[in-house]
Symmetry: C2
Subunit: 433 residues, 2 copies
C-alpha cells in the first residue's frame, strides 16, 4: 500500500490509508485507545476500542518508528477534524530508551541548557519544527523575490586570507602550515560580484568570534546577503529591503500556516514604503519624548531603539522603521557619506519591533575614495589589494544589506533567546550537538 | 529615462532606450565607430559614424562604467540581431588603470595562475560569467525539485566539535581558548534532521584539508546535500538522484540558453532510469573488456571509471552510470550493508562521463548497528554521542547523497581544472582573492 503523508489524509476520507512516522503518543483510557503518529509534516490520531490493535506496541517506547494503516474518518474530536479508525500498527524501528524530554505535550517544557543539550531530540517537537520551517520559508521567499528581479546567486569563500573588515572578532585557523580566517561576512565578495553580475545574493554561514555571552548573539549564524549596482543612493536599497521583507512574510503566510498557528505568530504588515527617520531626528525625538539627551552619541542604544520602535508603531502603525544617516564614525570604511552632509552616511538600520534587524547602505564606489578611506581608517592598502581591484577597474554606485536569519525569527516569534531559533547553535561554550 | 537591461533591448526596436554598464570595447575604424556595453546580463553594441559621439570616452579606459542611450535597430551585423544608433554616452565611473587581462575578446586567453590571481577582473568576462550562471541554475533547479517533493531546507553548523567522519583531513581552529573543526560535510546533521523532517537538503560550503594538489580537488567547495527517510534501500535514493539531475539540466536549459551557447555545452540527457551496474560486475566487465584484473581491489581506479563511462555510453547511450554495492571496507562506518551479501554495501557512486560525481547510499538506522559499526571501526562511542541520539530515539531506514557543485560543472563543461568552475577557489597555496 502506497504511503501517504499526514498532510494528505484529508483527501482520503472514507478510505483506508497507510502512513509512516514516529510514535508521538499512546493513551490507553480503558474503553478507548489513542495512538498519535508524527511524520515529517504533521500528526494524525488513530482511535480504537480494541486493545488488541495496540499489541504491536507492547514493550515499545515513544518515538519508535511505525507504520499505521487505518480508515480516515471526519471527527470533531481533533483539531485536524480527522482521525483514523480500525488501526493496524507495525513497528519499523523500536525505541527502548527512556526519552530525556517530553515530546508529546503541546508545549516543550525544559530549561534552555537542556533544550540545547538535547537539541537532536528536542528539534522533533512540533513547536521546534515550526520555527525551522519558518526559517526555510524565509530563505525561499528571499531567493524567489530576488530571482524574479534578475539577481544571481553566489557562493563566496568562507576561508579568507585576512579579517574581512579589519576587525578583531575573527576566527583564525591553521591552513597548511600558514593561517587563514573564517569570513565574518561576504561583504567584500558580494561587492566584487556587483562588478560581474550587478545584482547578487547569498545565503550562507558567517562566523563571528565575538566573546559576547548574550541572548542576542551566537558565533555562527545564517546571513541573507544582497548587493546591487546602479543605485541612486541608500533609498534604492531600502526599497529592495521592503520588497524582500514583504516576500518573506508572504512566503510564510502561504507555506507555513500551520506553523504560524502553532507558534501563535501574527505576521507583521510590511508597509510600502517602510517609514524612515534620519539618525539626527531620531536623537531629537528621543530627547523630546523621553528626556534622554543622546544627541552627542554616534550610535543608538538598545533603549533608544525600543523607544523608536514604539514611536513607529504609534505614529505610523508600523513594526518596521528605517533609521538613516548614521554618523560616518560608527560605520565601516566602505560606507558612502551623505554628499550633502558628510558627517552622516548614506546608510541605514532597519528596526523591527525596536531591535536592529538589518544593516545596510550605499558603499563607496570610486577607487580613490577607497584609498582615502583606508588611509583615514589606518588600514594598509596592500591587505585589500584584490578587493580594491574591483574599484580600480570600474564599479558603479552600489549598495546592499544583510538580514540575520536567526534575528529575524527571534523578533518575529518573540522568543527570549536567539539560540532557540537555530537548529544547533554555536556559542562560546557550545560546539555540540 | 528608465534604464533597461541588455536582455530587454529586443522589446524596444525603433525606440530610444537607456542602458548602463561597463565599457567592454571601443573600436574606431575610420568612418564608423563601435561601442560595446556589457551589463549584468549581456552585451549590446552601439554604432555611429559621428566621431563626436565618442568624445565622452576620451581618456577613459575599458571597463569604465557608462550610461548609454540610443535607438534600437534590427541588424544582421551582430549575433544578437540588434544594435543601437545615435548613441549618447555618459561616463559614470571612469577607469584609468590599464587592464591586466583582455576582456573584450570572445575567449579569455590567460594562464591558469593569471586567471586565478586576477579572478576579480577575469570573472567579468562573459565566458566566466556563463559558468557561474550555470552554477546558480544548478542550485535553483536542485532546490525547486526538492521543495516540490516536500523536502525542507536546513542550515547545519560548520563549526563542529570533532572531525565529522573520524578522518584526518579536517581544518582545526582556535575556539575561545579551545579547539573546533570545520565541517567536512553536513553528513551527521542531515541524518539527524531526517528524524525531524524526514526529507532535508542543504546547499553550503564544506571544507577539506586534503593536501592534494590536483586538478580535481579544492579545499573548500559547495556541496548539494540530500537525505531522506522511509526508503526501501539505496535504489530509492538513486531514483531521487535521477530526478534531481534531470531538474538541474532542465533549469539550465530554461534559464541559461545563452550561457550554454557561449560555453558550447550540450546538456546530457538524464535517462530514466539511469543504468546501474554492481561493483562486482563492473570489475568483471573491466577484466573481460580491457584485460585488467582489478577484482581484488575494493575500489575503482580513475582508469576503470573512465572505461565504465565509455561502456555506459556504448551500451546504454548514457553519460551517467550508477555503480552500486561498493565493498563495505571502503565505505564510511554509517554505510548500510547489502543484507543479501554483507561484504558489499547498499551504496553507490554515480559516474558522469567516466568521473565520480556523486556518492550516496543507504545508511544504518538501528542504534545497535551503530554501536557495532563504531566498535569495528575502532571509533569511541562517546565522541559520537549526540549523533547516536538520533538513532537511540528512533530513526527510519534512510539514505542520501551529495553532489559537488564544482565537479558537476567541471564535467559538464569539460574544463581541465576544477578551479575554473568556482568564483574564488581555495587550495593549498591560494586564499585570495
Amino acid at each position: 500500500m502506497k504511503r501517504i503523508r499526514t498532510t494528505e489524509v484529508a483527501h482520503h476520507v472514507g478510505q483506508r490509508v497507510y502512513l509512516q512516522g514516529w510514535l508521538q503518543n499512546v493513551r490507553r483510557l480503558g474503553g478507548v485507545n489513542f495512538v498519535l503518529l508524527r511524520d515529517g509534516w504533521g500528526t494524525i490520531q488513530a482511535v480504537t476500542e480494541a486493545a488488541v490493535d495496540l499489541e504491536p506496541l507492547a514493550g515499545v517506547g515513544l518515538e519508535s518508528v511505525i507504520g499505521l494503516t487505518g480508515v480516515v474518518v471526519a471527527t470533531t474530536q481533533t483539531a485536524a477534524g480527522l482521525e483514523l479508525h480500525q488501526p493496524q500498527i507495525e513497528v519499523i524501528t523500536p525505541v527502548t530508551a527512556e526519552l530525556p524530554l517530553t515530546l508529546h505535550k503541546p508545549t516543550l517544557v525544559a530549561t534552555l541548557p537542556v533544550l540545547l543539550d538535547q537539541a537532536v531530540l528536542a528539534n522533533r517537537h512540533p513547536i521546534r519544527r515550526a520555527i525551522f520551517r519558518l526559517a526555510a520559508a524565509a530563505m525561499a521567499g528571499f531567493r524567489q523575490a530576488l530571482q524574479a528581479r534578475h539577481f544571481t546567486e553566489i557562493q563566496s569563500p568562507k576561508l579568507v586570507a585576512s579579517a574581512t573588515e579589519g576587525g578583531a572578532n575573527v576566527f583564525r585557523l591553521d591552513y597548511f602550515g600558514g593561517e587563514a580566517f573564517l569570513a565574518q561576512s561576504p561583504q567584500f565578495y558580494k561587492q566584487i560580484m556587483v562588478s560581474v553580475f550587478e545584482r547578487v545574493y547569498e545565503v550562507g554561514p558567517v562566523f563571528r568570534a565575538e566573546p559576547h555571552d548574550t541572548s542576542r548573539h551566537i558565533n555562527e549564524y545564517v546571513s541573507l546577503d544582497v548587493e546591487l549596482g546602479f543605485i541612486e543612493d541608500h533609498f534604492t536599497v531600502m526599497e529592495l529591503v521592503q520588497v524582500l521583507l514583504a516576500a518573506i512574510m508572504k512566503q510564510m503566510a502561504q507555506t507555513a500556516v500551520t506553523d504560524l498557528h502553532l507558534l501563535d505568530v501574527t505576521l507583521p504588515v510590511v508597509p510600502q514604503p517602510i517609514p524612515h527617520i534620519h539618525f539626527r531626528e531620531a536623537k531629537e525625538l528621543v530627547w523630546q519624548q523621553h528626556g534622554l539627551d543622546g544627541r552627542a552619541e554616534p550610535d543608538l542604544s538598545p533603549q533608544e531603539e525600543r523607544w523608536l520602535g514604539e514611536w513607529a508603531k504609534a505614529e505610523h502603525g508600523s513594526d518596521f522603521l528605517f533609521v538613516t544617516g548614521y554618523p560616518m564614525t560608527k560605520r565601516p570604511f566602505y560606507t558612502h557619506p551623505d554628499p550633502a552632509d558628510p558627517i552622516y552616511s548614506n546608510s541605514f538600520d532597519l528596526l523591527f519591533r525596536g531591535l536592529e534587524l538589518i544593516t545596510g547602505g550605499q558603499r563607496l564606489h570610486r577607487y580613490q575614495d577607497y584609498q582615502a578611506a583606508l588611509t583615514q581608517a589606518g588600514l594598509p592598502e596592500a591587505a585589500f589589494s584584490h578587493y580594491l581591484d574591483a574599484f580600480r577597474y570600474g564599479m558603479p554606485p552600489h549598495g546592499g544589506f544583510a538580514i540575520g536569519l536567526e534575528r529575524l525569527l527571534m523578533q518575529l516569534l518573540g522568543v527570549s533567546n536567539l539560540r532557540l531559533t537555530t537548529l544547533f547553535p554555536r556559542d562560546q561554550t557550545r560546539l555540540a550537538p
